[in-house]
Assembly symmetry: C2
Homo-oligomer: 252 residues x 2
């Protein structure tokens, strides 16, 4: 390893500080934190792991990020980046809400355990506000009375986050069962396994104490998570729409 050629003049500056040392930045730290998160999950995500990922001392991180909590918040904010909001279309508010919820869940799925981070993030940051505004616009376009529009925004977010959070918990639970390495965000196969196990569990319950659970064991779990999520959103939308029907907007 000692037979290095003398550095060419134009790369001298670069070679100086060891192997192409790119400066540490907030962005690079967040990026590294994401790859660590995807590999080890929320519970085991640590500043030291992030530092190791960057090949840097732990204390170096604190020059760019004041605490782990701040790093988590930054990761949360990153979620909103390049999230295009379509212009509100009053005739299509239901479909647009559906779409919004779906891409929201997709965003949360983009990184492992992201929902756990999102759930504790500050939901009214500058990055998140346009989304709330968008939801409000859609709800008002749909003819919801004002006091409902306000609550509805919260509600949709709570459901999206809560749903994804529980998915995340199931995934982690499943993962600590099969020690398999985690190349992708829990295969469809794993979810099928979970469902099958639960279905048998329900079916074999004592029918005298749990008649409904036994009877519905098949129909309850045959749906995929996607379908369950869509159904949940649909229920909320219908509930909201029922108010719009009661308080028809004065056609001015």
């Amino acid at each position: 390893m000692s037979d290095e050629l003398p550095a060419l003049p134009w790369e001298r500056t670069r070679r100086r500080t060891g192997p192409a040392r790119i400066p540490l930045t907030r962005d690079r730290i967040i990026e590294a934190a994401y790859t660590v998160l995807d590999r080890v999950g929320y519970e085991k995500l640590s500043m030291r792991q992030v530092a190791a990922e960057l090949g840097v001392a732990v204390s170096a991180l604190y020059a760019h990020v004041s605490s782990k909590d701040e790093l988590l918040e930054l990761m949360y904010l990153r979620m909103f980046r390049d999230w295009e909001l379509p212009p509100p279309d009053p005739d299509n508010w239901r479909e647009q809400i559906r779409q919004y919820a779906r891409t929201g869940r997709t965003r949360l799925h983009e990184h492992r355990d992201m929902a756990r981070i999102a759930m504790t993030g500050f939901p009214f940051s500058a990055e998140a506000l346009p989304h709330l505004e968008q939801l409000l616009a859609l709800f008002r376009a749909g003819g919801l009375p004002d006091h409902l529009a306000g609550a509805a925004g919260d509600m949709i977010s709570t459901f999206i986050n809560g749903f994804a959070f529980e998915e995340s918990v199931w995934e982690d639970r499943q993962e600590e069962v099969d020690e398999s390495p985690r190349d992708q965000p829990v295969s469809e196969r794993s979810w099928a396994e979970i469902r099958e196990t639960l279905e048998r569990y329900f079916r074999e319950l004592p029918p005298d104490r749990f008649p409904n659970l036994v009877e519905l064991s098949d129909v309850m779990l045959q749906r995929t998570n996607d379908e369950r999520f869509d159904l949940g959103i649909e229920i909320i939308i219908r509930g909201l729409a029922s108010y719009a029907a009661e308080h028809p907007r004065p056609a001015e």
Copy 2:
């Protein structure tokens, strides 16, 4: 302290073990964990704190509880204790669902950050199953098609947990602002403060980019958490009921 009377025969066995040394049990550990949780919150709840609360070495806990995760799970299960479920009344399913959700949230509020623990707890344990069964019974009584009844149970739980979780996050955020000691689960006053701060924040947003937020700033946050929660539940119930109306139960 040396002028002790000779112990009466029937209390001899009790006196033997020094200063009234009550044996360590799972229950006592769980109890202690709750008082620690209420004092320091979820993030700072540690095995050492629990041990200290009991005046005992940390390692002693591990004779009764295999890990911190198990302890958390036990705390979660304790939540269902003495939770009476009223007999399902088909004519009143909506009110009964409302009531169920309300007491669910109340239970979560009984201990600080309980929702954070509940959210990661296994929702199909022996203790929790009767509740799911109850919900299914109510939904079927309300005339919901079977495939919906299954999803609806999940949905209600997700919303209750998610809502309480976010309340818990807000409370913690508020608490680290005012250093005030925490004698009770965040006073009403604190919530009023949070609402007021947010309302002003919304009102002073640039109206060109956030017209709806500015316009709704007053109406959006004037409601208490209780009202917002009830509204959320009501929306879900209405959404569910809309399906029942579409698929009327065959009057046999």
